[in-house]
Structures are given as C-alpha cells and as structure tokens.
Symmetry: C2
Subunit: 332 residues, 2 copies
Amino acid sequence: MEKDSKRTTIYDLAKLVDASPSAVSSVLNGTWEKRRISKNLAERVTKLAEEQGYSVNVQASLLRRERSNIIGMIVPKYDNRYFGKIAEQFEVMARARGFFPVVTCTQRDPELEFEAAKELISYQAECLISTGATDPDRISAFCAASGVQSINLDLPGKNAPSVISDNYAAARDLTKLILDRCETELGWGGPLRFVGGRLADHNTAARLEGFLSAHKERSISVPASYIMATGYSAEKAANALALFRPDHPAGLFVNSTISLEGVVRWHSELEGGADQVRYGCFDWDPFGSFLPGNVGMVEQDVTTMLIKGFELIGRPATSTGQILVPCKIRVF
Amino acid sequence: MEKDSKRTTIYDLAKLVDASPSAVSSVLNGTWEKRRISKNLAERVTKLAEEQGYSVNVQASLLRRERSNIIGMIVPKYDNRYFGKIAEQFEVMARARGFFPVVTCTQRDPELEFEAAKELISYQAECLISTGATDPDRISAFCAASGVQSINLDLPGKNAPSVISDNYAAARDLTKLILDRCETELGWGGPLRFVGGRLADHNTAARLEGFLSAHKERSISVPASYIMATGYSAEKAANALALFRPDHPAGLFVNSTISLEGVVRWHSELEGGADQVRYGCFDWDPFGSFLPGNVGMVEQDVTTMLIKGFELIGRPATSTGQILVPCKIRVF
DNA sequence: CAAATTTGCTCAATCGATGGTGCACGTGAA
DNA sequence: TTCACGTGCACCATCGATTGAGCAAATTTG
C-alpha cells in the first residue's frame, strides 16, 4: 500500500485528497489558517500525510525559503570529555533555538577542516562554529567570502569573533595548586615541569604564560628544559618523560587529558619515587580524581562558552574580539 | 567587490563570463568534457568561481539529482570512548565512501531519537544508522515507511539488520578473567557481583547471561542480590554499592564505563579492604588500566562493527538478522 | 564546393515546496 | 435584485542546479 519507489510528495498527497499541492503544502507547514484552508481539508491532509509516511523534502523547502536553519560545528576529536561535551551541548542548545545542528569531526587535519567547512557552507549552513580549529582564519575567510557568519570556539582567530577559555588565569591557578600540594605533601617547593601541547598553539602558549607567572610570583625560576611541550599524543608525553626517573620530589603541569594518559603511564612505571610525584592537568576527566598523584584538574566551562557563542549569532560581524570565559578548577 | 547580499549562484557566474548557466554548471560539476565545453571556458569559469567564493547550493543540486549522499547516524551520548570512537570512525568511513555524514546525539531520549530520525529523513538521508537507540524498532519502521534504509548498531532491533558486539562471549571471558584474578591474587573463588545497566536492555541481558554462564561453568552459584543492574549512571552504581563495605575478598563485573565511575568512587572511599577488591569493566577507557583493582576491560571492536555496517548499505533490506562482532579483551 | 561531422555551446523542462495573486461561490445587507 | 464581503481554494512563478535535446558555426571529407 505504500509507495515502493519514491518518497511521497505534496503532489501525491494532493491527488489523493483531491486538492491542490499548494493547499497541501500550507496545511503541512502550518500556514493553512492564514491561507484560509478549511479545517476539514486540513485534517484530511494531515491524516493522509501520516498514513503515507510523508516527510517534507527539506532540500526543496529550503531552496524556496532561502533559509536552511543549519548551523554547523567543526570539532577536532571526540577522544576527550571536553570536545564530547561541547558537541553534545551544542546540539541541545542549537535545537532549543530552532536550528538543525550538524557537527563534524575533522581529526585535527587542516585540509579536512577546510573541506568540511566548505561542505557545510554548500549545505547553506547559516553559521559555522570552528572549535579548536588548526587554521581558523582560513575557514573564517572562506565563510566571509560566502557571506556566512563564523565564530571561533576554544581557539581564537583573527577574522572572526572568538570565545575561549581564560587559559592564562586557570593555568596560573592550577600551577599554584600543584606547587602548594608539593609543598604541603612533599615539603618541596618546585619548579614544576610543563608537559604536553605545542608552543605554537595559542592555548598552550597562554597556559605556559600562566604557568611561568605562578612560578615568578613565588620567585621560582624554571629551567628551559622543564618545558616539554612536544605534542599532544600520549606517546609524545610518555617519551618526553622517558628518561626522567626522579629520586626526589617532582611536580608536573599536564597540558591535556591526552598527554595525561602518557604521564600516568610513565608514573605507573616508576619503581620507587612514584609517591614523590604530584601533578595536575589542564582538562577534566571523570577518572582523573582516582589517579594517584593527581591533585587537581581544570574543567573548562563549556556551557558558558556555548552561551556566549550563541549570543554572537546574528550579530553584525564587527566584533572580532576575544571573549574570555573563566574555567573551574577541581581540587582532589 | 563581493556580493554583499546573497550567495553567488551559477547565474551570477554565467553573466560574468558571458556564458549560459548550464555551461557554468557543467564546468563546476565536472561534466564539462562530456558536454563538450571548451577548456578555455572551463578554466575561466573555475577561476571566477574561486574568486567569487562560489559554492554549490547543495539544496538545489540534490533536489534536481534526487540523491542526497547524506548518511545519518544517531548516537546516544559522547560521554564515553566507545560512542566517541564510533562517531569519529563513522565520519571517516562515510567520507571515504563519498557520503556526507551527519551524526546527531540524542541523549538516550526516545522522543528526541525519533525526532532526530525524522529530521534526518527530511534532509533526504539515504540511510540511517541507529546506534544504541532506546527504541530502534520505531525508527526502523518510520524509515521503512519513508523508503529509507536503516541499520542498527550496538543494540539490535527487529525491523532492520543489526550489527552488535558479541556481548555474551566477551562477558563470559571477562567474568572468567576476574574470577581467575580473584583466585590468584586474593585466594578467593567468587561469586562476583554484576553492577550497572538495565536488565531490559538487550546488551545488559546478554552480558548477564555470559556472566552467569562463566559462574555455572565453575559451579559457582550467584545469589540474586548480587545482580545490581540498577541503571547506567555513575550515581546509580555508587548507590547500589553504598551499603556494601566488604571485610573480605570481593569481585565486581562492571557493565559500562559510566557505571565504572561510580564503582571507582565507591572503591576509593573504602577505608580498609579496598585491596581485597577486584573488578573488570565491559567497555574500555584509556585511564582504566591505572585504576587500582581493575584487572581488565572489554574493548568493543568499533572498526569491524562499522565495516560490517557499511557493507549492509545498499543491500536489499531482506537481511534482518544480527551480525555478531567479537570484542577484544584487555588484561591489566 | 557541397555534404558530413565535429565542436561548443544554449534552451527549456524539471526536482518539491512555497506564497502572492486571483477567482468562484456563498452569505447578508440595502 | 444587486453589490459588498468573506470563504475556500487553485494557479503559477520561483528558488538554483541539472540534463536531454537541439542548433549554429567550424572543420573535415569526398
């Protein structure tokens, strides 16, 4: 009894209820009262549409309306709680605002990032949010040329407004926390080591600044060799630490949960001296508080960041500034 | 110099290069050689398109072509590595096959699940993969009525083919592993407790079967009160265990990483006796191996599951069977 | 040099939904 | 009986890209 070949269209329904396609259309999109369609016909159409499993061809509808309601988001990875939460919350908030959210994961690959952005724009996305993009400016530039609004999240860019965590302040506070705990628990005063990330990245740079400023505040000087920002993967963090077998108190500032995986692996393989190590991590994970030696983590305030981001939508693109959102620090 | 109002269309480009829209279209979609457009014109059009920041209106293009290339996926949460990896890999594999992947996260909410499915179908998705859906049959039924293929992943359904992990076998093996380790490390022979999940869920049921069968194989009887499948959240697991303060060896089979969070919280709050507890978890997390007491985790084989899933695409919907994919067991 | 091909494009219909315009019919008032 | 409205709908152009059909000009063939 169902169509076996094609999807049902308003023309099919029109024939079946013996009315015009435009009448059917207006019933189905809710404008029937405005268009003075009788309640009788409206009910017949609605009923039939349900029976036939009809659903609008959004392609056609949007083509005509010249609005897509699509809001795109680019995310690098789903391999930590931060980006997972961003994607989840983004979807909820977008839907609550009547958008159709499309999130796509680009593997930290600049080319793929750009391709995905172009694809989203082809789908007439009305706004594109680049999260943690490696090359946000290229994306913003393309968006601008296509007349699409773009917003940077997590990582700032020059061509579009950016909502980012206050990495500096949170890193400074986390550094102080770790130093304090080294002092009270180990009777040792630093300096800490900085593990993970890339100095060329804005976020790593800002965090390093906070890290150094906390040391400076206490007049602790940090040897250059203590800055081990050798990349993001767990392996790179583990490798950077491989030769470090402390026989005295030590402390680490870990720059992401991914790096933390490497640090914890290293830590678990220390024979003695493992209990002489304290560390903290910039980023949160639910298992973090159970890791021996971990004194605290920074949780970025995803909800606030997204709220600020959504506030920018529809605004004139004049504001190219950065919006800083404070982080929460979780002490274990 | 750019259009300030609208997106550039092929008609704009046509005027600018003084050619017909159809010539422009064929240049831009790659059919120009077939349509005997000169290389000269093709190059001029391509250049201009780039200058103008042109990108196809996919809405219009797909409307005409009557193919969307969209492949949809519904995922419950991004709050564990399993679903995160599924989403990521799905996107990579879909793109490699020329699809445009749209993943949407439905918060384990049956209504939202269904709404999202309908929305994806409105966007003319050619195939819909329901991952861990709470009500996959309702979705499959709707897809069938709309003539859209649907596939179940992770959780089986009756109206569409399903690719799922071999929960039974992996649970049996994990149970044996935990029992073995209780024996060798604690000199204690079970029975274990089963924590987390919901018995009404297919996966939990299959895992419980495996759990019980491993016990039976060793002639260990499991008291009914040891089955604590009270839900998925960390809180529920922690609550279920709250009154359990073992002063003797104990072992737990934990049904998901979410439940594991609760278990680890409980475990970390045990004063004495914490080292008399061993557990294993059905699901993998990179920090799992560092949790004291954790003897192993089951990692579901996401890659194989997705490969099997993609193999089903385009097939006649006759095959409504279940495809079982073995899991990997990680021993700590 | 005329006929036959080939080259290089243009025309116009079409996909499905939408919404401005307009028409026929019914009702009530003058 | 006539006119003014109101009701209930149909008609048709339109969004942008695509594609089969077709045509004029250039080139080759006999």
